[in-house]
């Protein structure tokens, strides 16, 4: 199925070549990424300085020619998304065009649903919150366009329970859109019926996992299901469903309006487009910013977050994609690009692009131990490797913080994390295992020196 989007790019390439004839050189590959020009930014009200309601949204270009986009039809919309190279913005980075086309099957009588995953719980991540409170009309329009592309009857936006004010903004937006005839019966005058509902969660990180989210919408405990069957076959209420992240859905109408090739022009091959980055931790100005994909990490932090506290040389490590991604040490941070492929090569991942920056004053073992405690609290308890293994790792990590351990236990915790990774029903197990692996991979000497210090103190006391 990868060939399909590759064929799309190849045919586009051939198109350009044909028109440029043999004398003109082919368009050179881009090597410099960032900074993004304001006119190329999609989320123009990210900082909430303009009106988020319908009037302000219309002024900023939302809901412009939506009817024409819907009239172009399913195949056209799906093609635009495929050409744009959009990859899922919720952490997994699965090619969106391919994912949405899984729903492109003839209906067997069951209605199809789009579910928007606004359960933003990954530590470090706070981008969807800004979309939902400052630019919610982009999300609603995105639901409509994406819903049309999948033949969905309705969209459920599952928002985390703690985001009460954001969900209230979203509900006001939906009411405005219904009142203006933009969604509901005959949405935007295109003859297509589409409903949007907001469902508030009640405080469970695991409900950010797609099958757990589906379980939660159905009114049960948010315990993930095994895949297969995939949500595109059996999803919410037993109907074909696609679960998509807020950002992925919200950029879809702009891609359709400005063209998939425009989106493709940012970032490297197979890592195209713009992304919302959250930069938190030990930087001078923590912020959320929309930047081009493949922007160098150093440039991103220095340009937008005012640089690391105490200067770049004071940097210890960075967690690049929200807590589930392994940390990268200073020497990797000097040169790495912020996109999916470059970070996988650095043995980490882009995840949700939520950077957690740590400087030299950090007790990195304590930071990772707190993350494992987070995973322990948030584990749903269904499968043994996660329920028992993460709790075990948590106990061990807090002993490593004190140094109250043996050196051989570092290898033991590595082995436990390898036993959890890949052997669980959902990816929370992986998300808990990777930070530990990142810590051991890059900070083993620190762990061993902590152990040696503790032993020394104990002997001195004896």
């Amino acid at each position: 199925m990868t060939e399909f989007s590759f064929l799309g790019e190849l045919s586009l390439y051939g198109f350009i070549l044909y028109f440029n004839c043999a004398t003109a050189p082919e368009t050179p590959k881009k090597t410099k990424f960032g900074p993004l020009a304001d006119q190329d930014r999609i989320f123009t009200n990210l900082y909430g300085r303009h009106d988020w309601r319908l009037k302000g949204a219309l002024q900023r270009g939302d809901w412009y020619k939506t009817k024409e986009i819907l009239d172009k039809g399913v195949d056209w919309i799906l093609n635009e998304i495929k050409v744009s190279g959009l990859r899922g913005r919720g952490g997994a980075g699965f090619p969106t065009g391919m994912k949405w086309s899984f729903m492109n099957k003839p209906s067997d009588g069951r209605p199809k649903y789009l579910v928007v995953n606004a359960d933003e719980g990954e530590p470090g991540t706070c981008k969807d919150r800004e979309i939902m409170r400052n630019d919610p009309h982009k999300l609603i329009e995105g639901c409509l366009v994406a819903g049309r592309a999948m033949g969905a009857r309705a969209a459920y936006i599952y928002i985390r329970g703690e985001f009460y004010n954001e969900s209230s903004n979203l509900q006001v937006t939906i009411n405005e859109a219904y009142a203006a005839g933009l969604i509901g019966r005959n949405a935007c005058g295109s003859g297509y019926d589409f409903d949007v509902f907001v469902m508030r969660g009640a405080g469970a990180y695991i409900c950010g996992e797609e099958t757990a989210l589906i379980e939660s919408i159905e009114g049960k405990q948010g315990k993930p299901r095994l895949k297969p069957p995939f949500p595109a076959d059996v999803g919410v209420f037993g109907c074909p469903t696609t679960v998509a992240n807020v950002e992925t859905v919200a950029v879809a109408p702009t891609i359709c309006r400005r063209g998939g090739t425009w989106f493709l022009s940012f970032g490297r091959e197979r890592n195209s487009g713009t992304k919302l980055f959250n930069i938190s931790g030990h930087v001078n100005n923590p912020c959320t910013v929309e930047e081009e994909m493949s922007v160098p990490l150093k440039e991103l932090i220095e340009r937008h977050a005012g640089g690391v506290r105490g200067g770049w040389d004071n940097l210890l490590c960075v967690i690049p994609g929200g807590s589930s991604t392994p940390l990268i040490p200073r020497h990797v941070c000097d040169t790495v690009l912020m996109d999916f492929d470059a970070l996988i090569q650095a043995q980490t991942g882009l995840g949700t692009a939520a950077l957690i920056v740590m400087d030299k004053s950090t007790d990195v073992i304590r930071a990772i131990a707190r993350l494992i405690e987070f995973y322990k609290h948030e584990s749903c308890g269904q499968c043994t490797p996660c329920r028992e293994g993460v709790d075990w790792m948590n106990n061990m990590m807090w002993r490593f913080v004190k140094g109250d351990a043996q050196s051989a236990e570092i290898d033991m915790i590595w082995e436990i994390s390898k036993q959890i990774e890949g052997h669980t029903i959902c990816a929370l197990g992986d998300g808990a295992a990777w930070p530990v692996q990142g810590l051991i991979r890059h900070f083993r000497p620190l762990m061993e020196s902590r152990i040696a210090d503790f032993k020394q103190k104990q002997q001195a006391r004896a």
């Binding site: 900074p35 993004l36 304001d38 006119q39 930014r41 123009t44 990210l46 900082y47 909430g48 303009h50 219309l58 900023r60 020619k65 986009i69 209605p111 933003e120 990954e122 530590p123 991540t125 706070c126 919150r129 800004e130 400052n134 985390r160 329970g161 703690e162 004010n165 509902f197 508030r200 009640a202 469970a204 939660s216 919408i217 159905e218 009114g219 049960k220 405990q221 209420f237 309006r257 400005r258 425009w262 938190s280 931790g281 030990h282 100005n285 923590p286 912020c287 910013v289 929309e290 005012g306 939520a354 957690i356 004053s361 950090t362 007790d363 304590r366 707190r370 993350l371 987070f374 807090w398």
Partner: protein, 241 residues
């Protein structure tokens, strides 16, 4: 500075070991229900007529035959009405939705926002996950504990404040922060949270949001993006639309 940091580590660890043993107000505390005079199947609970209308509206959001899907929103409504969830409220919700009570108990114990013990008027929830810890949430926790005189999981004697420690609240670039009832108070310093508590004691709810002077999530040192006015409709739109 390192010694200061180690001292705080020790304090935080001590705090942590305390709250692991005390019964907490939300899920993560005792999972078994024991009837008490204040919390038993006979505890009075009825939805007000206005809330019953809301319950019907919620049930209409879901397809025919899937009323169970309304469990979480309706339980949340019951909690908003009553302040917390006695077992009789859960039984009532089960009756309205036509599901077995055990299904509702499962949901009420799984999700952390459902409170099965009474809480004070202001439920102060502090986030101590790593991004907030890096921005010194320990000092905010210490400030709250000193100001209110309670530890994590406890309620003040005048039943005004309950303090709980929660996992990531999704406002990491505005760390450190707390959630009080439905609002986020962000970019806190210890003096900020003391001011907030004073205002709440005086029965004035301070406005939510960052306390450091910035509006939301923009860089505090000045805008580095979106410095131009946003383009209007039709900007950059492809010609064949």
């Amino acid at each position: 500075q390192y010694i200061q940091y180690t001292k705080r580590n020790v304090l935080a660890r001590q705090v942590r070991s305390l709250h692991q043993t005390s019964a907490r107000a939300g899920a993560g505390g005792i999972f078994v229900h024991r009837d008490t005079p204040a919390n038993n199947p006979e505890t009075p609970f009825e939805f007000t007529p206005e809330n019953m209308k809301r319950v019907d509206a919620i049930m209409n959001n879901y397809p025919e035959g899937h009323k169970a899907a309304a469990t979480i929103p309706v339980l949340d409504l019951a909690q908003r009405q009553h302040g917390w969830l006695p077992i009789s409220a859960m039984n009532k919700v089960a009756e309205i939705l036509g599901v077995a009570p055990m299904r509702v108990y499962e949901v009420a114990t799984f999700y952390t926002m459902f409170l099965r013990q009474p809480v004070g008027k202001y439920h102060v929830q502090i986030c101590t996950t790593t991004p907030c810890t890096l921005c010194d949430s320990d000092s905010i926790l210490e400030a709250i504990q000193n100001k209110l005189g309670i530890k994590v999981g406890e309620t003040t004697a005048d039943k005004l404040f309950t303090l709980t420690e929660v996992e990531c609240l999704g406002a990491c670039v505005n760390a450190p922060m707390v959630q009080i009832n439905d609002s986020y108070y962000e970019d806190l310093k210890p003096s900020d949270i003391e001011q907030i508590i004073d205002e709440l004691k005086a029965d004035r709810v301070p406005p939510p949001g960052p306390r450091s002077g910035r509006f939301s999530c923009e860089p505090a040192g000045g805008l580095t993006s979106l410095t131009e006015p946003p383009p209007g409709p039709g900007f950059g739109v492809r010609p064949d639309l």
